[in-house]
Symmetry: C2
Subunit: 431 residues, 2 copies
């Protein structure tokens, strides 16, 4: 085991933050000037604006428009050391990395997020990828585009139909957004193909429950369902997916041939509970106290999708970006107060800002307290808030420019299929 | 073997073009309105502006800024069917694709380009990738960025030095461009790292011959050498690389430990000669007649990097984009004339426009006939011509914007490392 070069080289209180998502990044930002030394560890080199990830998967935006190297963001923070590394465990006050390094901490903040849950069927992930990382997004983009390419070359009618069938599992915001935008893409691509009618594609949104967007008011769920149906999306309610294969899915006991399958159901927290030797909740989230620390470990905080805390009118805080950011700010306040020898702030309380989901171009649903918006106005509101929240002026401008252009020209430009079967895939593994 | 759905469905003369690079695309463009039916086959779904590929490899531009889906470009060409497919051979007037399809042709244009040559050591490609495709570029980008990340985490001095050593093999335009820009990147990244000084990286440009840019006037070679040295690039002349491994290279009998190795030497044509049962030249290029057809096959044209034709003052036409485009235009004229029952134009003649290479930001060398330019003026000239030649107004604007921004802010933004070892690599293979 090699010690990290800088570990122990200074006496300042050392805060280690695992995860550069919304929660981790907010913690580091709010600790600016607190007089502590910070190490920020992530297994990827970039912060990702996840709410727009579905637009990368559907050819509207390119990866570099919604992701920023963490080092770039931390360039002027001389109190912060950024490490690219995969955490394998936590032991004796040290964070263990996969290459044998051990990073000791005085205070630890775990903000490692979540992945989709396949409800015990992890082997399905190969056949129905979820959408959490840039790799997921470019993989899904590649599969969607290849489906049309294969159909264009396919002489057999049944196989062609399977190529042009897209199954999206899960009727939450991600599923609704993907279904709407894939339907639009299928329309838009029609003039580019000679042998097939892409607009006759079958886009199936599968929800095991009784309505879309369960977190929203039923009137907005109804609006979303109507709006999607009008765009040509087929809805399936009350039936569960019981198998995923490389040629289709089993839905309510019936086999549905489809080349493209996307998983947007269920949530599984990262393995932080295992690292801590704790039992997570059903989704693997670490139960934390009202100050977001782990019981018996006042020096360990767990925040965002990795934690479960009943701080929203007695209900668990939802797994959304504003919740993670609020928790990051709160944790920084506690660390600051402790470091300054002051009384830490009272228990964390969550302020719910609202829920948004887009259904397609110029259609969205919004629920802010008693306010409910739908349709075009909601879409503009959604667009403006998302551009506003994007980090960094440059990317904000690039996204704005791209959207403007896609409106003016009515086409999307990021339809690259990369990493072909003959490509350099194997090279990518040799990190 | 399944016939393609549309094959034989119309009586029009059928031109099949293999390859959507500069040559193939120009052929298709120049055939607009010729009254022939065209099928354009490529193993990738995009046309790539290769002259700027090194900027993707070095984090300046993102892939979607220099590549355009072929379908997008052909949307309004109802005479053109685009097929994504890998050619495996040519037999009995048919192009064979890897999935068993056969595409019959009346006229065939082969424009499949070239790859780097490892001079019989293809196993080196894994350890020292070349730069021909978007996948190559993102792989090299990933390796360069990971080298700095690994160094930041590495406690051992010798291993850290190896992480910070970059070997570029080949002193032609690509090697010069890569060396210059990697040196600039190493300078620029300095404030982002806490444990290492990235600007102390060793960037080694290896040329087996006696000078850089052999195609240029010696005075410009000297200028390039001086300019690179001033940027901190170390030059090695007259020694050949005799082995590539995963931890370094053997250079003139001595082992040089280096984590990042890039291959920018030698040219090997695509396997078109094999498809045709012909013997290629040393680089595998198909010898063609002065009208760019294969001897004994007036219906088969071979153009661009795939062909060798002594049409430049008795010398072989160089493997550059303008040459491929001129050949594409010429072939279209011949096909047009034949189709109209007119006399085809006389033999193809090549008009050499000149040579350009950039050395880094605001430094380039240009040779246009008797005109020789170097330094900042050459760089601006280079930038303007390249933006001008980029296809599509949108991308031209995006590249211009990106460059402008990188000047204003003095930073590059596309530093994403994607496809980590734990990532979805294996999924990418399941096309």
């Amino acid at each position: 085991m090699t010690d990290h070069p800088k570990n122990g080289s200074t006496a300042a209180h050392h805060v280690v933050v695992i995860g550069a998502g919304f929660g981790g990044l907010q913690t580091v930002r709010s600790l600016k000037g607190a007089g502590v030394r910070i190490t920020l560890i992530d297994q990827r080199n970039h912060h990702l604006f996840q709410p727009l990830l579905y637009q990368v998967a559907t050819t509207i935006l390119s990866p570099s428009e919604i992701a920023w190297p963490v080092r770039d963001l931390m360039e002027h923070r001389h109190d912060v050391t950024t490490l690219l590394g995969t955490v394998t465990g936590i032991r004796d006050g040290q964070v263990l990395l996969s290459e044998g390094e051990a990073v000791p901490y005085d205070t630890l903040v775990i903000a490692t997020g979540s992945r989709h849950s396949y409800f015990g069927n992890d082997q399905w992930s190969e056949f129905a990828p979820g959408l959490k990382s840039l790799e997921d997004a470019t993989l899904i983009r590649r599969r969607i585009l290849l489906a049309f390419e294969h159909a264009e070359r396919e002489a057999d009618r049944a196989r062609r139909a399977a190529h042009l069938t897209f199954a999206i599992v899960g009727g939450g915001p991600t599923g609704v957004e993907l279904a709407g935008i894939i339907a639009e893409l299928a329309q838009k691509l029609r003039p580019q193909f000679r042998n097939i009618d892409t607009s006759a594609s079958r886009i199936l949104l599968i929800e095991a429950g009784e309505r879309l967007l369960a977190a929203f008011d039923p009137s907005l769920s109804d609006y979303a369902a109507t709006s999607l149906t009008r765009r040509g999306v087929e809805l399936s309610f009350g039936k569960a997916v019981t198998d995923c294969r490389d040629d289709g899915i089993l839905l309510g006991g019936e086999f549905l041939p489809c080349q493209t399958r996307i998983w947007a159901a269920g949530v599984a927290a990262s393995p932080a509970a295992d690292w801590l030797g704790l039992k997570g909740d059903r989704a693997g989230r670490v139960p934390v106290q009202n100050d977001l620390t782990v019981e018996g470990h006042p020096e360990i905080f767990v925040i965002g999708d990795t934690a479960t805390v009943p701080a929203w009118e007695g209900k668990p805080v939802p797994g959304v970006a504003p919740a993670a950011k609020q928790q990051g700010s709160y944790v920084a306040k506690v660390i600051r107060a402790r470091h300054a020898g002051q009384t830490p702030p009272p228990d964390f309380t969550y302020r719910h800002l609202g829920d948004l989901a887009t259904i397609g171009k110029r259609s969205a649903v919004i629920q802010f307290g008693k306010l409910r918006l739908r349709g075009q106005l909601a879409w503009w509101f959604w667009g403006i808030t998302h551009i506003y929240f994007l980090i960094g002026a440059r990317s904000r401008a690039a996204v704005a420019w791209n959207w403007f252009w896609s409106h003016v020209r009515g086409r999307s430009a990021v339809r690259l299929i990369t990493h072909s079967a003959r490509g350099t895939d194997k090279d990518h593994i040799s990190e």
